[in-house]
Symmetry: C5
Subunit: 323 residues, 5 copies
Amino acid sequence: MDCVVNCSAYAKGRKAASLDIDDLPSAMLEQDTFVWIGLQEPDGDMLKRIQKVFGLHDLAIEDALRAHQRPKLEAYGDVLFIVLRTAQMNGHVIDLGETHFFLGNNFLVTIRHGSSLSYVDVRARCESTPHLLQKGPAFALYSVMDFIVDQYFPVIDALEEELGSLEEKIFEETSKRETTQQIYLLKRQLLEVKRSVSPLLDICNKLMRFDLRLIDDETRPYFRDVYDHAVRINEMVDNARELLSTALEANLSLISISQNDVSKRFAGWAAIIGVPTMIAGIYGMNFDAMPELKWAFGYPVVLATIIGTCGLMFYFFRRSGWL
Amino acid sequence: MDCVVNCSAYAKGRKAASLDIDDLPSAMLEQDTFVWIGLQEPDGDMLKRIQKVFGLHDLAIEDALRAHQRPKLEAYGDVLFIVLRTAQMNGHVIDLGETHFFLGNNFLVTIRHGSSLSYVDVRARCESTPHLLQKGPAFALYSVMDFIVDQYFPVIDALEEELGSLEEKIFEETSKRETTQQIYLLKRQLLEVKRSVSPLLDICNKLMRFDLRLIDDETRPYFRDVYDHAVRINEMVDNARELLSTALEANLSLISISQNDVSKRFAGWAAIIGVPTMIAGIYGMNFDAMPELKWAFGYPVVLATIIGTCGLMFYFFRRSGWL
Amino acid sequence: MDCVVNCSAYAKGRKAASLDIDDLPSAMLEQDTFVWIGLQEPDGDMLKRIQKVFGLHDLAIEDALRAHQRPKLEAYGDVLFIVLRTAQMNGHVIDLGETHFFLGNNFLVTIRHGSSLSYVDVRARCESTPHLLQKGPAFALYSVMDFIVDQYFPVIDALEEELGSLEEKIFEETSKRETTQQIYLLKRQLLEVKRSVSPLLDICNKLMRFDLRLIDDETRPYFRDVYDHAVRINEMVDNARELLSTALEANLSLISISQNDVSKRFAGWAAIIGVPTMIAGIYGMNFDAMPELKWAFGYPVVLATIIGTCGLMFYFFRRSGWL
Amino acid sequence: MDCVVNCSAYAKGRKAASLDIDDLPSAMLEQDTFVWIGLQEPDGDMLKRIQKVFGLHDLAIEDALRAHQRPKLEAYGDVLFIVLRTAQMNGHVIDLGETHFFLGNNFLVTIRHGSSLSYVDVRARCESTPHLLQKGPAFALYSVMDFIVDQYFPVIDALEEELGSLEEKIFEETSKRETTQQIYLLKRQLLEVKRSVSPLLDICNKLMRFDLRLIDDETRPYFRDVYDHAVRINEMVDNARELLSTALEANLSLISISQNDVSKRFAGWAAIIGVPTMIAGIYGMNFDAMPELKWAFGYPVVLATIIGTCGLMFYFFRRSGWL
Amino acid sequence: MDCVVNCSAYAKGRKAASLDIDDLPSAMLEQDTFVWIGLQEPDGDMLKRIQKVFGLHDLAIEDALRAHQRPKLEAYGDVLFIVLRTAQMNGHVIDLGETHFFLGNNFLVTIRHGSSLSYVDVRARCESTPHLLQKGPAFALYSVMDFIVDQYFPVIDALEEELGSLEEKIFEETSKRETTQQIYLLKRQLLEVKRSVSPLLDICNKLMRFDLRLIDDETRPYFRDVYDHAVRINEMVDNARELLSTALEANLSLISISQNDVSKRFAGWAAIIGVPTMIAGIYGMNFDAMPELKWAFGYPVVLATIIGTCGLMFYFFRRSGWL
């Protein structure tokens, strides 16, 4: 039974007992007590046992087993089923995971899928503030949600840093293919984070406002706090997205300016090489009667003319920014 | 009567009888029984008979005959008329079809148009879970809708794979005309899927929320499940669309960078060819007095100069990335 | 009085009498009878007579006279004033017109402005289904609206065909100025159709939902049908617009790729012409001591070198796609 | 007291008296009478006197003094404060002004700021329709608002004409820098008009729908008329904006096609000049043993070859559209 | 206790006493008196003392300590917690700060974080209008909010000026890399201001409309005034953003036109240099039989031809705008 990470009963905000899944039915009878169970990638059997104890809906259990859900909150009678997506930076890659919650009047079940930090610390922190934890399982839910949402801030920071370094690359002299590719990949990551975070606003809104008996008035402000964090993450992502599309356009402008510079420089040097070639060509003609060719100073004068013309062109092009 | 695929009566979630269309009027009188009829591209006559038995509205029957409707849900008195679009991958092409539903208190009529999988399996699966099927025809409706929506996932997967292979093509060295054309075609396919799926959100919403007596409280969560799938498909399409437009812009940037590279390489080689031509031109002039021409080492020195200059230019251009 | 196209009284869904405008006041007194008047570009006098008979509002009469309104529905007491825009393809041009309606408890006035098909056929079709027409003037209104909206489908088909032929032009080898101009013109036409159709959604919505005593419950589904058609037209236009902007961007990409191809081909041929010129230039130098020049095989060897080099370059450029 | 343009009392829709500001307090006591005051850029003193007579709110008076407000409607107790922006074409420039209104139960104060036409004509027209003006100060408000909104139509017409002439410039052969600049400037003007007009929709909506005792049911349709005009102006601006951004993109495509044409033409002529140069270069080599040089017809044959090759290239390039 | 900038009690709109934090509990007991405390970057201890006196919520205190919140309004029981962002121009850089407010029935606490102007002047102005200040702490809140929002106008003015100078740079002859970079940076600044201002609309809306007992009817119009300013700032930012993206596109068009100009000019000069080179090459051939070479006027005629051709080409290119 490896998938049960922790299963404890809490009374008046303090841990009353460590339970085995088999003890749950009897434990659920005690008053003023709630049970908090942490599962990790449970198999169908385990979920069916949990379902039986707490009377959960088939559809929710199916979702909890299959994972790869989008974040959502669904009420099945007196039980809330919540799906959140978790995110962590792993080097330059975002590791996504999922956590599902079943929140009842006197129980909270958390189910972790994929890569995500353990909620041991969250539980410990809750246990250290009994006056808060005694608000019931909704407060435990808040604690884990708050932890999950806070994990997004370093992700966003990493993406904003990436954006910053992309900006530098875009505005430096040479445009590289990799920069454009990185812009695209960053956009893809931002969309991924956006997809994970934006449904949170709706979920928190429901937890704050709806006429849910499961969440009392004192606990609601805590979900407003989670909402507030989700709004901020969302805003940062939207901001980065808008900057990124401007960056992509600016990138194109700069590539065109580079192209312009290349053309100008090429044209300048082509003229500086072409004019001597033309002059030399003319004095390479084989006419019998070309007085200059006989002239003793013909060669040096033509050479000087060539050098002078090229010098003038160089000066002129340099001044007008073509070279 | 080829267009009648199946016509059965169900009582307490179990199949009670296989009916003929002509038996319907009497069958409809039995209590706690509902009839589930499957039609495929019925003609006007058949539809009129169905209309007469169940008292369906003229406008709905007209729509059911003509097909090429957009997905919608319309209530005509106590009968719901629902139109869904179905989709399947057929190689690289998306085959679209349509399915229409008439849902009444004790009947469900499904009408298939165009290419779509048969609903025989769905019916079989329903019959294997009598405790669910006894919820009535609304549950049968759910089963078919769920089946239809699930058919979209492989379509989306195929489109996302296509997007992935396009990304590779975009970011590889040479930009091809076909890549741009494929981006456009993928966009068109995404819009097509979007048009088929997005009205589903509204339809499911109505099934979940509206004050419809046809759908009882126990069945509603099932439509929320369909809604959830539709939201996910919708989100995937939107995501792919946004990535695709970024890809199109990135594509343009990369084409411009390629253009830049071509220009630079051309300019570099033009210089390496142009400078020897110029020097050779000068020593091809026919002046009588050109001391270098008489000099025994004139030719090798000039040759060496030419080769040296070209070598230097080559080194310089290579270092600055022009070659 | 040329502007009166038709003026009849209907009782129980059947035509009771052809009326003259002057007979209207007395005809209006009969019970269970409604009057349906068709006008075409009436002048101010005619409109004032109509206004007097039916007690219409000044502002609506002013609008009906001036035309060039946007589609709208306005309730003035017990009378609805509705403005629709009509469209027909006339070769490659969209002919736009306007039709105004005054709908009262026992009358319907339709006023045609600009190019639009006659409503004679609509009236005939209504008269052939007395069981429907007896629902009252609201059904007559529906019949004309349905006719007007159906006229948009061929327009949309023509625009989608145009889009299809534009796609072909965009993806064929050479980019032409006309293609870009046609994209722009198609966009303008789509916007025009959009402006004519999108207010229809709002109008139909009001006819379906609002607490209008003029439209009874039995007639409402018919307006939902018009609404459904309007939604489909709207969707087709939006779809075409989105495809068109992608097409415009794809067009730009393809123009840039063409530019790239031109540059590459030019660079390739320039090299193939430039290298022989350079080699020839070198052997055109006038140094006294150039041993190759004296060599009997000098010329053929150089010629062979030139041809060989050019051949190699040709092969190399061809292989790498530059030629 | 130059800033008072007009100050009159109206009873039963007819002008009862021309008043001095000092007579206002007594005039306000008479029943069935309302006062209509027109001010132009009043100073603080005048506004304070007005404020005292009608009991206006400090914040509204402050706004009325400072001008440069955005269009808005604010209710202060029983008084409405309305700000509108006026616009007129002055050559190619749009002259913007502002008009503020205080509407009370028995008074209307209009305050003009900046360039705007006088409202003398509006007042005269109102006085000529006493049966309408007797609806009270709300009708006077309507008359001025209608006048202001109608002033936008010629502005929009001028901008659409400008757009039309820009289209022509874009699609003619040569792309000019000025065209792009004019597109930008037109966009800026459209945004300016949009900012002035779009708040009008909200203002009219409030006047039509809100539970304002100041505006009776009979007067509301008149504000719906203003609303309708505002919608049309708004739509025209949005239309022009969308066309303009398509025009900007089309412009870029056409510039790129021009660039393509330049490159092709250049490449063609470069080949036609380069090939003779190459051939001539070869026969300019100084090999002792070049049999062609001795041949009597060498020169004419080479000349003919050169001319023939160039002719062929010219024909080929012309046919494939490069020249 | 440096972080306490000011702490005073007000009765009937007049300053009644300067208080020490320790005196607060007793001062809070007096009727018709409210306390206004100004803090600057308080530490946790100070905030805990404040929390204890006024009974503030843990979550709000945590936010007030950490700063870096987004603007928001949160109600905790009878206390409002408001976060605003402040902005000031510091040369070309926007200095952002934060101010937090706790508004209770008889107290206002303002907490400044980061760079922001002192609120000493605001307090002084409030004290000079006792008839307004006696409306209570909500009016004091308004005064500070109004001050904060007004600080945004010079920021917007600076950004619009920047946009104006960018426009000039874009439309002048040469496109520079810096211009594109500046467009990007301005976009980033606009997004930053937008993020600070747009939540204000929601905050003011809540203060104006919600059923908050803390804000009486007389004070609400003042928050509508703040709302109005926030709308204007928001609109200016949106306007600048839309112009900026058009500017970016126009910039790209102009860069492409420049590119075109460079290509044309280069092509023109290449022809003018290439043609003489070709002609000279031909007369540089070494055929024995080239009659022109023997001709006495051969050289001057060829020279004249060359000069004439170049002159013609120059004239032609100049006329068609290529040079």
